[in-house]
């Protein structure tokens, strides 16, 4: 476990590319977004260069509600990076709109994490004046 008296580690910045810039710019502004095909409407994440269903190159950016549920999780104990507190609560969140994201769960004890838990998004600052979407329990689970 991390030393309670030590300052919390600063989360490393995501790798920014021409293809993912829109996602991280939105996150910095406190918005969770995903690509949507401007032709057939298919929502997709992670970002892709074209629509895997209709091959359209036209992309819209869709705002997501930020609500979802835990599809899977793991408590990461080892190995440890000084950039994170342990255990890292790693989750796959299935968002209400039908896309899945890798993230962390906050505001919950590691032993309370379970598959199916309703969660909602919030944003944590990270290196490089950016922010990353994370999730906390929602509704009666909060």
């Amino acid at each position: 476990m991390t030393d309670a008296s030590a300052p919390p580690p600063v989360r490393p910045a995501p790798a920014i590319t021409e293809d993912n810039l829109f996602f991280w710019e939105a996150a910095r502004g406190g918005r969770l977004v995903a690509q949507r095909c401007a032709s057939c409407g298919l929502l997709r994440h992670p970002p892709r260069t074209a629509c895997p269903a209709c091959q359209s190159l036209d992309i819209e950016i869709a705002e997501l509600s930020g609500d979802g549920e835990v599809y899977s999780y793991a408590l990461l104990w080892h190995p440890r990076s000084p950039r994170f507190g342990y255990p890292v609560i790693a989750v796959l969140v299935d968002l209400a709109e039908g896309v899945r994201v890798v993230s962390n769960l906050v505001g919950i004890a590691p032993g309370e994490v379970r598959i199916g838990l309703p969660v909602t998004v919030e944003f944590e600052p990270c290196e490089g004046d950016l922010a990353v979407p994370v999730f906390r329990p929602r509704g009666e689970a909060a």
């Binding site: 990461l76 990076s81 990270c126």
Partner: protein
Amino acid sequence: MSGLGGRAAIVGAGATEFSTEAGRSETRLATEAILGALADAGLPVADVDGLVSYTIDPVEETELARGLGIPEIRWSSRVPYGGGGSQGVLLHAAAAVASGAADVVVAYRAVKARSGRRFGAARAGIGPSSSHSGTTAGQWCAPYGVLTPASWFALNASRYMHRFGVTNEDFGRAVVQLRAYAATNPAARCYGRPITLADHQASRWIAEPAIRLFDCCQETDGSVAFVITSTERAGATRAPVTIAAAGGAALLGQEIATDHYSADLSVMAGSAALARRLFDRGDIKRSDVDVALIYDAFSPILFMQLEGLGFCGPGEARDFVADGNLSPSGALPCNTNGGLIGEGYIHGLNLTLEAVRQLRGGAANQLKDVRTALVSASRTGVLLTRLTR
């Protein structure tokens, strides 16, 4: 039989020692393994005209060829997906030989996965591509501290366990068998070190609730290489092994160890597709497989492949393993070298080496009358048989 089936054969196999510190470069290790494989085949370096490896490989083909003195390379390729592509080297080599693009192809892999760049290290700042690894998914994991293959795969395994009520102790029963095989294999990193289920359950959590320390492969330094040529030419060599079938299956949505975006992560759809390539087109049935070598970077991957490949149904690997089917007397003796968990992690290619040894005779844990071997790296795989002359 598919178009490639039976048209190419492994005629030479070579390997270095498997250690925690090789004390020499990956290129040097690959060179040693390749020279060993050529000596085993009884073929001169000058006959080699093809080179095949797979991604996350630091060895430059050009440097390797210069060191070996290969006069002319007519065919070279690298299979994507890292270790998942490990058995694809035989698909590529067989394709080259069957098409006439090359006559003698060397397939190889060298790693310093223990003393050099450890796969299991927690490196922050993973970018969109890691050494042409076949995936861009790491960038979506790194900001969340999901930094290692074990952590990536635990997210799949956890869902599998949830759906089928599988526990980490269930995985432990397979690990105990793998460590029993390794304990009597002098080449294995875990030689002489069998474990009990209690030992397994006492090992520390890596990624709870799926993966403990003893569920992980042994990061290892070493190299394995093979020489592949046509079955016609193979007939004149010492101990040829036929590539009866070779296949690859990468489905939309799959990454490498990460496959976080497919709808149902409790099944390995890629392994099911691979099994169709290997079994549905040929005259080799699952029941013909005398020994299976299944990529076990982490023990849950072994369970999910047993199901994906069709050796048991979804959720049935737990009972299949508990019933002793992976043992020498079981229905599917599996990873008889100790697997990647017990023998070491030469990025999957040491599983192919064990298959060749079992078919030729003289493996450390030699089974009786092995005629057909399966090697599965989840999305690439081969069926190997003794060459009948």
